[in-house]
């Protein structure tokens, strides 16, 4: 048999790839599972299988949301209050978490001095400090900002420290071999190499920030989405309560997706290979 007679599977024409169909893509299944879930939920509630006090139907929640957003507009001041707490607290947590993390990761002595306090605060549930912060700062915005800040900062701080400390030492040495100064090593090697860890820390912090906003508003608040949820619960307004919870869910998912987008679009080359 001569070699010319040997036939390979896709010898002629285009190389063969399996076409991806609409139902085999991830998005289609995602959407489908959500639709099935909501439909089942609607069926269970409208068929009267559960008491509407315990679980409202998706339709009832949608109706409440429509009223809140487009008829009475009562929701907006609550959103503004919660968002202000979250944005200020989260921003401060990112800025100080990253800066302090870089310093603590880079300077052994600073880490040794601050480590006991970081560990202590990291281990203390920050919402337990709320009564104290209300004594210090009153029941207004700033006691809640402080709780959100403390809730978010440690995930970022601890991750940044880990990032700085796990930088491949050979890269540092290579920069030194090319006569890099300490500042150059820090800005050109250590900082970029820590980026994936910093992003991971921020991602972890999203959940903690939302928890902090919610819990801070359960206690001594007069406005906010968390406050709204609690009030709705106290007055047996289950649809309003579920709508409030859903707002937290949507905020968390949006932030997480936005972070993924930024990471994919601008920071993908910093990922560990």
């Amino acid at each position: 048999m001569s070699i010319e007679n040997v036939q390979l599977g896709a010898a002629e024409g285009e190389p063969f790839f399996r076409r991806s169909t609409w139902w085999s893509s991830g998005y289609a299944l995602n959407t489908l599972s959500v639709i099935v879930f909501i439909a089942t939920w609607q069926f269970v509630t409208s068929a009267g299988l559960v008491d509407p006090l315990f679980l409202s139907s998706p339709w009832a929640i949608a109706k409440v949301a429509y009223e809140q957003f487009f008829v009475t507009g009562e929701i907006y001041p609550n959103i503004v209050v919660s968002l202000t707490e979250a944005v200020i607290g989260f921003s401060l947590a990112i800025v100080f978490g990253v800066l302090l993390g870089l310093v603590m990761g880079h300077f052994e002595r600073v880490r040794q001095v601050l480590d006991p306090f970081v560990m202590a605060l990291y281990s203390t549930p920050s919402v337990a400090l709320l009564p104290l912060f209300i004594l210090w700062l009153g029941i207004g915005l700033w006691s809640k900002v402080l709780i959100v800040f403390l809730g978010g900062i440690f995930a970022i701080l601890v991750n940044t420290i880990a990032g700085v400390r796990s930088v491949n030492h050979r890269l540092i040495e290579t920069a030194e071999a090319f006569t890099a100064t300490k500042a150059m090593v820090f800005f050109y090697i250590i900082l970029p190499a820590s980026v994936p860890y910093i992003v991971a820390g921020i991602r972890l912090a999203i959940g903690r920030v939302l928890i902090s906003v919610f819990v801070a508003e359960l206690y001594a608040a007069t406005q906010g989405v968390g406050y709204l949820v609690m009030q709705a619960g106290a007055t047996y307004n289950t649809p309003l309560m579920l709508m409030g919870i859903l707002l937290f869910t949507i905020t968390g998912m949006t932030l997480s997706q936005a972070l993924s987008f930024v990471e994919e679009r601008y920071l993908s080359r910093f990922r560990q290979h």
Binding site: R170, L171, E173, T174, A175, E176, A177, F178, T179, A180, T181, A183, M184, F187, Y188, I189, P192, A193, V195, R269, F270, Q272, H273
Partner: protein, 272 residues
């Protein structure tokens, strides 16, 4: 700006020879006494020559190379480069190629090349010109915008060598640059390195534990022994230049190989 660096003009008189004078070095040990890694190494590498440091693992050949570069300051003795300039730390007249390519994973090939230039204080447009030149020289055309993770092992090491060449060093220090490559790629890279070296004959100090690699490339082979690391002898390679792969079948190659193996054998068995 703390990240800027003055571009220091190099003296024209610099020749590129390397002299090690009574270099001894100890590493601090976690327990017990410090471990001696180099014992009284005296070695002169003539300018424009290709010298290999050959020995088993643990003979201190990498440490000696680092001492020459200035990454390690020896406990005793000193190194001087280019007519007696004492080595006190890394300088731009010497460049290092590492065994692990050590490229920044977040920078593309060309960015890695320019990065080396930037660190020694070369302006952006000049860095770019040098990087493009090195890319052509090392056959990296078409791969300049690839990240290291998108390059093969051989390509990565080409970028590693190009990065060293970009700073236009007088002395090229190479620490087992082909040690992590597969056998075929390794032979291709050896021939590439020969071609490169023939073009401008920089001083090269090349660490290896392969006898054949040392014979193919070097003018002189420094055979090192272990515990503590020391120079056993220096062997001249009397094969003509330019070298080619075909010389492997030469009588002199075989004789040299035999001689080096006999020198290394006791050390190898001790190290193993």
């Amino acid at each position: 700006m703390i990240l800027a660096r003055r571009n220091v003009q190099r003296r024209q008189s610099e020749t590129g020879d390397v002299r090690c004078v009574n270099v001894s070095h100890w590493f601090a040990a976690n327990t017990g006494a410090p471990v001696q890694v180099l014992n009284d190494v005296c070695l002169t590498v003539a300018a424009h020559s290709f010298v290999s440091l050959l020995g088993p693992s643990g003979c201190g050949k990498t440490t000696l190379l680092r001492v020459m570069h200035g990454l390690v300051i020896p406990t005793k003795g000193h190194v001087s480069v280019s007519d007696g300039k004492r080595v006190l730390g890394p300088e731009a007249n010497r460049a290092m190629v590492f065994q692990e390519h050590n490229l920044l994973p977040w920078k593309t090939a060309i960015e890695n090349l320019k990065f080396g230039c930037r660190l020694i204080g070369i302006a952006e447009d000049e860095s770019h010109r040098r990087a493009m030149e090195a890319i052509d020289l090392m056959g990296l055309r078409g791969f300049e915008h690839h990240l290291p993770s998108q390059l093969s092992g051989g390509m990565k090491q080409r970028v590693g060598i190009a990065r060293a060449l970009c700073i236009h060093p007088q002395v090229l220090l190479m620490d087992e640059p082909f040690g992590a490559l597969d056998a075929q790629t390794r032979e291709v890279m050896q021939v590439e390195l020969l071609r490169l070296w023939e073009a401008d004959r920089k001083t090269v100090v090349f660490v290896t534990h392969s006898i054949d690699e040392a014979i193919l490339l070097s003018d002189q082979i420094v055979v090192m022994g272990t515990r503590p690391g020391r120079i056993k002898t220096v062997v001249d390679v009397d094969l003509p230049r330019p070298r080619t792969d075909k010389m492997r079948s030469d009588q002199r190659w075989a004789a040299l190989r035999e001689k080096l193996w006999l020198l290394l054998k006791p050390e190898m068995f001790e190290a193993a």
